[in-house]
């Protein structure tokens, strides 16, 4: 059991990687200015092309090339998105036209300007933003064509990995430490621990790598969507630099996009789904009507504004931190997750529920342990996971555990033990549920939260002293107090011991041995950043475990207040869903407590099966759209419960296995049964027409629903057991009538396809049904990409399926090799 590889990676790094892997380093960087005031005459500032701020290193590569051309020793300053040079207008670059920026900031005779223009802009104007997609498309087509030739894939993969290494190395060399910044510069350097990433990537086991890959793929998709948005922004350079031919619009990936009206509903729906993460504005390009009339100044201004907003949004997003977290299970196995800075513990738990098929009861928690301090703490569901983890030291042996912790919500299960603890135990034991409910109502549902009225003698050790001194403590909503010697217990005499704003409460393990505590029932309070022994930690020792739990819970109530109750409510709902799921899929659910060897053996396929899980969220949503095909045992109530809010709906919707199966139908059968119940025969072969109870959308004409065979197999391969009992994957696909060449139906189309011209006008997907809880909470990943209705018709475009496919190919290849 090694500790989790903790690394700080900004999403930019991740996106960069994926982009690079996909050969997208074609992107041009802008040389925005030559820093004249800086002591080093030739420091170039490479401004991130704002709309593609994620593509950090690409800029670097580009700049390197520029430097080579300019024949001067160039040093690179990377500006982090979010800050800008002093008083330098960013308008031009942000508005989508980098050329203008270059033009403005470089002296007319500068070699640089020439270089930039010669070298980069022709390329851009001729190749147009369509290029990456093409290139990308060809890669994946190649991949598709060579699925059977594993060697090729393997080679490709190692190739790519090699490139990644090169890239990271070069980045390591090139990044200039912040020290070199001139005082007038306002930029902060982007610090990404590439080496960390590298190391820990290698440290990870194969299974982990697989899981990670899936996450990357998800990111990739998000990036692509971004790209699409960017391109639309770029399509209308305002005002076009006089010297340059305006980027030919015909070459843009979605040439006819604007006029196509049916496209817009699709866009808006997807934006509905995808925006919960992004804080304010919709990241999507301005609606078509506006592009149609570019002449009007107002509209232009509006567009500009939109773009700028969009850009700002991206900049924000690019700053999101991500961690690769290894979570230890009860059985000693571990799961590796990519956790986004914005993800709450609840979302991570949901994620883990999906991966482990546990019973989802409210006790499941994420805990942190610190062997040095011998501490243990259950993360609260509303906390962000990344933040406390960032406080860990580099060399820490801390761990994150996924466990059932009864004490987490005990106060809501048996409030009387906390609020009426003075009463005799017997009368508390057989308390009526009604009375319990009343207690909760009184204490948690009023205008203010009432903390349990705790008072008692505990032994205290603080200020770095070695002795334990008894003190009479009192808990109040405002903090913990003690009664000073010789004073009464009246409020006015109390001395404040600690207020909870800046401290967390932790359980201490085996303090009797470590600190010679009177008993082993100890807890302590410390600032979350403190990771080692310190005089600032306040240790408390209770007489018995019961009073320790009372105090710790009481402090949590005082500290977190209402959120605690809300967390419980959410967890309870979750549990209800979970139990419904487990009930109907008991035979199939893989037991989390399977002996580890099996797990190990299984893990590759398991990873494969799990990772690309189509996000339940979108799936739910889709149920509204399509009459579900007959679920093997479709218990009607189930539909209501359906999927928990997906923590990471970003993932490419198509299960890679589905793709696999399309080319090698035998494969899934071989792989899957290890984990999942074999897909019911009916499902396997039958194109399931809407036999099931048409759920919501009667407007969806049943005859339209002709799922291509691959989908049904794909369905069988859907990882979470509940899925098996559920209707097939993203129905938008089912809308795709003409069963396209082998695979495309299941692929996540790259975003540009959203508005592809030839799309059969699909009815705008109705809003998600009310019953399943829509994914309300902002979920972690960079972007939520709803399974996009593939509207393309041409096979060539179909080949350009999302990276998901490609990645799954790779994964498959790797598995095979093993």
């Amino acid at each position: 059991m090694t500790s989790l590889g903790l690394l700080t990676v900004s999403s930019a790094a991740v996106c960069t990687r994926s982009l690079y892997i996909l050969g997208c380093h074609w992107w041009w960087a802008e040389i925005v200015s030559q820093e004249r005031r800086s002591p080093h005459p030739c420091i170039l500032q490479v401004k991130l092309q704002a709309l593609l701020s994620a593509c950090h290193c690409c800029c670097q590569c580009a700049a390197r090339e520029v430097a080579a051309q300019a024949d001067t020793p160039l040093r690179l300053l990377l500006e982090s998105p979010g800050t800008h040079g002093v008083g330098r207008p960013l308008y031009a670059p942000l508005s989508g036209d980098g050329a203008a920026a270059v033009w403005r900031f470089c002296p007319p005779d500068s070699a640089l300007r020439r270089t930039v223009l010669d070298r980069w802009f022709p390329r851009r104007s001729s190749a147009s933003p369509g290029r990456p997609l093409r290139q990308f498309a060809s890669i994946s087509k190649r991949a598709a064509a060579t699925t059977t030739q594993m060697d090729d894939i393997d080679a490709m993969f190692s190739d790519l990995l090699g490139e990644m290494d090169l890239l990271t190395q070069s980045l390591g060399q090139e990044t200039v430490p912040p020290a070199s910044l001139s005082s007038t510069n306002k930029e902060t350097n982007y610090s990404m621990s590439y080496t960390d990433l590298n190391d820990s990537l290698y440290e990870l086991e194969d299974t982990d790598l697989d899981a990670l890959m899936a996450d990357l793929v998800a990111d990739l998709n998000a990036t692509e969507l971004k790209l699409a948005a960017d391109m639309q922004g770029l399509k209308q350079p305002s005002p076009p630099p006089p010297d340059l031919p305006p980027p030919p619009q015909g070459l843009s990936p979605r040439p006819t996009s604007s006029p196509v009206s049916p496209a817009s509903p699709a866009i808006s729906t997807s934006s509905n789904v995808s925006t919960p993460t992004s804080s304010t504005t919709s990241p999507l390009p301005p609606p078509p009507p506006q592009t149609a009339k570019p002449t009007r100044e107002e509209i232009e201004a509006q567009m500009k504004a939109d773009k700028i907003k969009l850009a700002l949004e991206k900049l924000k997003e690019a700053k999101v931190k991500k961690l690769v977290v290894k979570v230890l299970m009860n059985d000693g196995s571990a799961k590796t997750l990519m956790v986004d800075e914005r993800q709450s513990v609840r979302e991570v738990l949901d994620n883990l529920f999906e991966k482990t098929h546990c019973d989802c009861n409210v006790d499941w928690s994420l805990c942190e342990t610190n062997p040095e301090l011998q501490l243990e703490r259950t993360f609260e569901d509303h906390e962000n996971l990344v933040e406390p983890l960032l406080a860990w030291t580099r060399d820490s042996e801390n761990k994150v555990l996924f466990q059932e912790r009864g004490e987490k919500y005990e106060v809501f299960k048996n409030p009387q033990n906390f609020y009426l603890w003075k009463k005799d135990k017997k009368s508390l034991k057989d308390m009526k549920d009604q009375d319990k409910e009343l207690l909760i109502q009184e204490n948690f549902c009023g205008t203010s939260i009432i903390v349990p009225d705790l008072e008692g003698v505990m032994h205290l050790k603080d200020d770095g002293k070695k002795s334990w001194k008894p003190k009479l403590f009192q808990l109040r909503a405002s903090g913990m107090y003690y009664v000073p010697k010789g004073k009464t217990k009246s409020s006015r005499d109390l001395v404040c011991f600690v207020q909870f704003d800046n401290v967390n409460v932790y359980y201490g393990k085996d303090f009797k041995g470590k600190y010679k505590a009177p008993t082993d029932c100890c807890f302590f309070l410390k600032h979350p950043q403190i990771q080692k022994e310190s005089q600032y930690i306040k240790y408390l020792c209770c007489d018995d475990e019961n009073s320790m739990n009372l105090w710790v819970t009481g402090i949590r109530i005082a500290k977190y207040g209402k959120s605690l109750y809300e967390n419980y409510k959410t967890a309870e709902r979750k549990a209800a869903v979970g139990s419904a799921w487990t009930n109907c899929s008991t035979p199939s659910s893989s037991n989390p407590s399977t002996p580890s060897p099996t797990i190990r053996a299984k893990s590759p396929s398991q990873a494969n099966g799990h990772v690309p899980t189509p996000p339940p969220g979108p799936v739910t949503k889709d149920f509204g759209n399509v009459p579900p095909p007959p679920p093997p045992p479709p218990p009607p109530p189930m539909a209501n419960f359906l999927p928990p809010p997906p923590p990471e709906p970003v993932r490419p919707s198509p299960p890679p296995l589905a793709r696999k199966s399309s080319s090698k139908p035998a494969l899934p059968q071989r792989h899957l049964p290890t984990n999942f119940p074999p897909p019911p025969p009916a499902m396997g072969g039958l194109p399931p027409p809407p036999l099931g109870p048409p759920m919501d959308d009667a407007s969806e004409a049943p005859p339209d629903f002709l799922p291509p065979p691959p989908r049904s197999t794909g369905f069988g391969s859907l990882p979470p057991p509940p899925m098996n009992s559920l209707p097939p994957p993203p129905p938008p696909m089912s809308m795709d009538l003409p069963p396209p060449p082998p695979d495309p139906g299941c692929l996540p189309p790259p975003p540009p396809m959203f508005t592809a011209a030839g799309a059969p006008p699909p009815p705008p997907p109705p809003p998600p049904p009310a019953a399943p809880r829509a994914p309300v909470r902002p979920s972690g990943s960079v972007r939520k990409v709803p399974p996009a209705p593939p509207k393309r018709t041409t096979p060539s475009q179909g080949g350009a399926g999302g990276g998901g496919d490609f990645m799954s190919e790779l994964m498959l290849a790797m598995n095979k090799k093993r």
Binding site: K309, I450, D453, I530, Y536
Partner: protein
């Protein structure tokens, strides 16, 4: 039937006028008596509000169809003919006095309802009238100086909810004077002068508090029956601390008055709190008074936002603001920073090193320092991230000491760093930066400027309070910190010692809106352990000493009078029944599990205790669905005692 003479005093004829003699028969009904009386006085006016009051029996003859015989009135009865609605001086929780027409003939419960309706206070059942504490009248001329807000001209309406105009009841919109009264009702009062607080009656013990509870008027009897005369003073107070369904949008007056009552309860130590809590209450009071000064209409305007249109309008404005601020957004992206020479000191070990000057740079959430300004291009000597750190001020304006104490968390523990600023301006900026950074906000945060402002105003506060007497310039927006805390702390701390402590607590609330701040104040008040307890001194059956019964919204507690410890707690939901033996004035309660208690009340009438218990049980029966209509009958059933039957 033979006729006999009935003497009726007509109040409107003056107190000296002799009673009017009517010749009546016993079968004459009360309406007939009034008719005869009016004819005899020969005064033409609206008599509709008048009724007969039977002085000896202390009852109104309101049933005009009843005959004199049925009422049992004989020739010796002294009747008074007078209006049912009379002016009453009403002390509000905020300390002001209103003069208004209240009903003297219906039960206090209904009178309170009428008053609350007039004042636009929802849920009148939580209120009642309290006989005022007699003020020690050392200087009798003091009383006349008191400002009285006159509401006697307001017509009485019977509509259950007054129609609103501009967010306030229509009768308040009539004239500027009326609007001023509404403003007094709906806007929090400025902090009182410290002398005012010290002069007020403060309960010194639980027994004192218990005595106050003996002053509640009986809800089921009318004012006349309880000896309240025209123009007498009563206090309107929240009696039941079960504030139900508070909505800042509709409860402007209610919320304000609840806040005022809570504030005075804190200031007068009616409810105990710790020093830290007191500082927070002080900070909130300071903030509330500041904000309500600057946006006096905030509370009432939110009520005016009722209609959709205005809401939409404000939305529009918001949208416009957003789109036009694109350039601002860009500006914001250029992260602001602070650069200056400051002095630093690390009180880590036993060092003799004093403060050392460096060039400091505050950027994002961290501080870095350099040897000099010139070297700030290079690598800083150290960079300190302030996220999650503790910031404490150490300021003495007169001594020109502006110190920021930082306690910065690190894996090994907390590091102490002191930053010394040269002047107020510098201090305010850097302090504000540190405050924000400790919460993870950068200087670009919108609250930066307001943070600077609040720090400066606190500095100003310290300046004036440390000045000679502070009275001269007390009016220019500075507040004496002693106005914000209870007299106990006047003795314990000097004003300038108090200021930093209040400022400290203020940091966490400075960003709250007026309504939020008021709500926060109430929440902290309600979270106090002793909140909602009304005390009565009782003697339990079988016990020889007096004890204290605390009546809370959900439970009864028995408190040892000598030690102050809670001896026992009984919850209402375990209560099976409670009875009052009106003859021996004893309350008997039976709880589940065969627990029976009985006690006699010492400091209050047992009717008051009975009403408290019944009242709280009534409060708990209110449910959201039928919140519009008050189940008055049930209330009387639960609180009325034998008179209700």
């Amino acid at each position: 039937m033979s006729a006999w003479d009935l003497l009726v005093t007509v109040e409107d004829l003056g107190s000296d006028a002799p009673p009017v003699t009517l010749s009546v028969a016993s079968d004459l009904h009360v309406g007939g008596v009034i008719l005869k009386l009016v004819e005899k006085t020969q005064i033409k006016r609206d008599w509709s509000d008048h009724a007969l009051w039977w002085e000896q029996k202390q009852r109104w003859l309101l049933r005009t169809a009843w005959t004199l015989e049925k009422y049992g009135i004989h020739a010796d009865a002294r009747l008074v003919f007078m209006p049912q609605h009379k002016p009453l001086r009403l002390g509000l929780p905020n300390g002001n006095t209103l003069r208004l027409r209240a009903c003297f003939s219906s039960s206090v419960f209904q009178t309170v309802m009428g008053v609350c309706r007039m004042l636009n206070i929802r849920h009148p059942e939580e209120h009642s009238f309290l006989r005022p504490v007699e003020e020690k009248k050392k200087k009798k001329d003091k009383d006349s100086a008191e400002e009285i807000y006159d509401l006697t001209e307001v017509p009485l309406s019977s509509a259950s909810r007054p129609c609103l105009y501009n967010g306030m009841p229509a009768h308040f919109a009539d004239s500027p004077q009326m609007e001023a009264i509404y403003k007094m009702l709906s806007v929090t009062q400025p902090p009182p002068a410290p002398e005012v607080i010290t002069k007020q009656f403060r309960p010194a013990s639980v027994v004192d508090k218990a005595h106050i509870n003996g002053r509640w008027l009986d809800s089921s009897r009318c004012l006349m029956q309880q000896g309240i005369q025209e123009n007498d003073r009563v206090w309107l107070r929240f009696k039941y601390f079960a504030s139900y369904d508070i909505d800042p949008k509709y409860d402007v007056v209610r919320l304000t008055q609840l806040y005022e009552q809570a504030r005075w309860a804190i200031l007068l130590e009616d409810i105990d709190c710790t020093e830290e809590e007191m500082m927070l209450f002080g900070a909130l009071q300071y903030h509330i008074s500041k904000v309500s000064e600057s946006e006096p209409q905030a509370l009432s305007s939110s009520a005016a936002m009722d209609d959709l249109e205005s809401a939409l309008q404000s939305l529009e404005v918001k949208m416009e603001g957003e789109s036009s601020s694109v350039s601002e957004m860009l500006e914001n992206m250029t992260a602001p920073e602070l650069n200056d020479y400051l002095k630093i000191f690390r009180p880590k070990r036993l060092t003799l090193k004093g403060y050392k000057q460096y060039w400091f740079k505050f950027q994002d959430t961290s501080i870095s320092y350099f040897k000099s300004k010139e070297e700030s291009i290079g690598e800083p000597i150290q960079q300190i991230n302030l996220k999650g750190c503790e910031v404490a001020p150490d300021v003495n304006v007169t001594a020109q000491k502006f110190l920021i104490r930082l306690l910065i968390p690190a894996p090994e523990g907390m590091n102490e760093v002191y930053l010394r600023c040269e002047n107020e301006q510098q201090y305010a900026q850097w302090m504000a930066g540190c405050r924000l950074a400790s919460k993870g906000k950068s200087l670009a945060d919108s609250s930066f400027q307001s943070e600077i402002q609040s720090i400066r105003s606190f500095l100003a506060m310290q300046k004036t309070s440390s000045g000679s007497h502070g009275n001269a310039n007390a009016n220019d927006e500075s507040i004496n910190p002693h106005s914000l805390v209870s007299p106990r702390y006047h003795k314990k701390y000097k004003a300038k010692q108090l200021t930093p402590r209040i400022l400290d607590a203020y940091q966490n609330v400075a960003q709250l809106s007026l309504t939020d701040a008021v709500m926060r104040f109430l929440q902290i008040w309600q979270a106090l352990p002793d909140f909602g307890l009304s005390y009565v001194v009782v003697r339990f059956k079988g016990s020889r000493k007096d004890e204290v019964l605390g009546i809370a919204p959900n439970r009864l507690i028995r408190i040892d009078l000598a030690v102050g410890d809670v001896v026992k707690t009984w919850r209402y939901n375990n209560m099976k029944q409670w009875n009052v033996n009106w003859d021996i004035r004893q309350v008997a309660i039976e709880f589940e599990g065969n627990i029976n208690i009985a006690f006699a009340c010492v400091t209050a009438d047992c009717k008051i205790v009975h009403e408290f218990i019944g009242g709280y049980i009534f409060m708990s029966t209110r449910s959201r669905s039928k919140s519009d209509t008050l189940n008055e009958e049930l209330f009387h059933k639960l609180t009325g005692g034998h008179e209700a039957l």
